[in-house]
Symmetry: C2
Amino acid sequence: MDYARFFSDDVASFLPSPVREIFRKVDLSAICSFAGGYPDAATFPLREMPELTARVLEKYGSRALQYGATQGVPELRALLAEREGVSPDEVQITTSSQQGIDVCARILLNPGDRVHVQEPTYLGALQSLRAYRAETVALPASLGDARAVPGAKYIYVIPDFSNPSGETLSLPEREALVDFARREDLLIVEDSPYRALRYEGTPLPTLRSLAPERTLYLGSFSKIFAPGFRLGWMVGPPELLGKVYLCKQALDLCPPVFDQYLATEFLASGALDRNLARSVELYRGKRDRMCDLLARYMPEGVRWTHPEGGLFLFVRLPEQIDTVALYDEALSAGVAYVAGSFFYPDGSHRNTMRLNFSFVAPEKMEPGIRLLASLIRNKLSL
Amino acid sequence: MDYARFFSDDVASFLPSPVREIFRKVDLSAICSFAGGYPDAATFPLREMPELTARVLEKYGSRALQYGATQGVPELRALLAEREGVSPDEVQITTSSQQGIDVCARILLNPGDRVHVQEPTYLGALQSLRAYRAETVALPASLGDARAVPGAKYIYVIPDFSNPSGETLSLPEREALVDFARREDLLIVEDSPYRALRYEGTPLPTLRSLAPERTLYLGSFSKIFAPGFRLGWMVGPPELLGKVYLCKQALDLCPPVFDQYLATEFLASGALDRNLARSVELYRGKRDRMCDLLARYMPEGVRWTHPEGGLFLFVRLPEQIDTVALYDEALSAGVAYVAGSFFYPDGSHRNTMRLNFSFVAPEKMEPGIRLLASLIRNKLSL
């Protein structure tokens, strides 16, 4: 049977994630993977879980297992509102922050509409934007007197420790971005799943705090609680959240209720902040270790970012190295990364790669970087 | 700030659910509600939860808290595949069966495409189909030599104990529907969240079993485990599930992982089937009780369906009664229902109502039906 005639026009724009494809094919535990964006399982509150689940069942009983409000359970919304310094009306719980990205695209974009993005940027956002047949256009390098492209609706941006670059927008860059959005009448989708994972320096104001009237802020529990609970949140003007609410009714009725109450109790008890402090320590050490190893092993001409937080750094290799072509060889040798070109809408920058430092076991980091460096050295000597 | 210019064309077709709006306004515990589609909390495995969570944490450890496969965790897919008599390649776990409905619409429908539906039909499906600007058209009453409307892509149908009607398609009706789909080259989206809740009679073959090549079957854990875990599953041809998989990557990366392992263990241990047997007993009693009370209290000229399973029955009142107009009065008096016209795409049949018998506390059922009957009697005597 031929199914082609049944598919919607959007389907032709669905693209598989090269990252997820790697995970389908490879047993990650058998190799040294710098590929995914997985948190270190050591940061998961495994030991606290029995007590946490018991508390949720005792305190909320059958409410924790029943359908819940589309906006999210009121207890969690209230806690997040307090944390974000907004009213609960400005908070919508999402079934993962990926859903937040997707819902923004759904309520804002028609086919052919345009979105300004950082380049490189998060692959899952590119997938979602493309799946609505929107066009992504690089943010102008100098925003001072830049114009938005015709048809632009919003800016999608990860200001803190971006995926994949690891880079953070400075305060002047944030101000310029907000000025640009105001001048050109664009909304801002501020995707900030890593904001709490800062290993050095001072937190900078969110774009939302600089332009609350035009920003949809996306938070995530995946890196501060656990990604196995699919939970994120969205903060924005009630006029926009009202449409998100209607959209979400048809998408999945409500976010996972039991998971929301686990997050509520984890947050309310202070356990989240204690766990977060430990995670920050752990990840700071892993970031430092990876930067040291890169400095020790990488050949001349290789550059990488120094992230102040988050999970990734981005490596720029000499022009003659093609990381897409190198990938199968690296995988056979036992090391995985994500080719940087996947994070550019046009597939350019084939001499770059994203390295994740959060997931890899500490004892695998040195052999992995050494192996990667020797593969690159071999290519350079050809 | 005026946000109107930012919204996608789809947004104008987003409609609030009157059912969910009721829940926003009313404390259900204070009234007698026949409105929602909530399971009875007595069917939730509250007592089993501590042992179940402990087992998941012991058996799967940090895997239960980490990101998972987009298709769902392999353990749960394998169990569902066995139960459905298919291969795991034909199973996709969804973040609720509502997501299954929405994803089918997303991969199949362009604006203006048409979907044949039962009338009345599930409001959440109407919301989702409308949100993609598809047009719903009633299934022809006699399918024998009927033609599909131009632009029809699929049939959306709840063959077992439909929401809201409570009615079940007979075997000849199923065969005629499948013949119609084959003759007119339509796909079938078989939404079957209540199939396991049968209180009398013999299970009939699924549409999927009659036409596996063109059916996407949607199952739900909400009525056999608990809706607070947002979990459903989809069974269909791998060619269609391949697109669902790509769509789901961009929607939410993967279904809730911890919830999936809870469902895995609940299913694998046999606890699900034991719990289901108890739920069927409980709901059979509630259905019988509601039918008895309707017979005892309702005035002449009121008719209702006799559902062999599921959560709902559908009431047809004399033509002069308008259940939309009656609603506020009923709510003030302390009883809630859903006006039947909400389940008709054109808002017709204003003399009908859906009554849910699963959620209401046993001691509230008699006063609620008596109250409803007296409101109707009053209107008839005007």
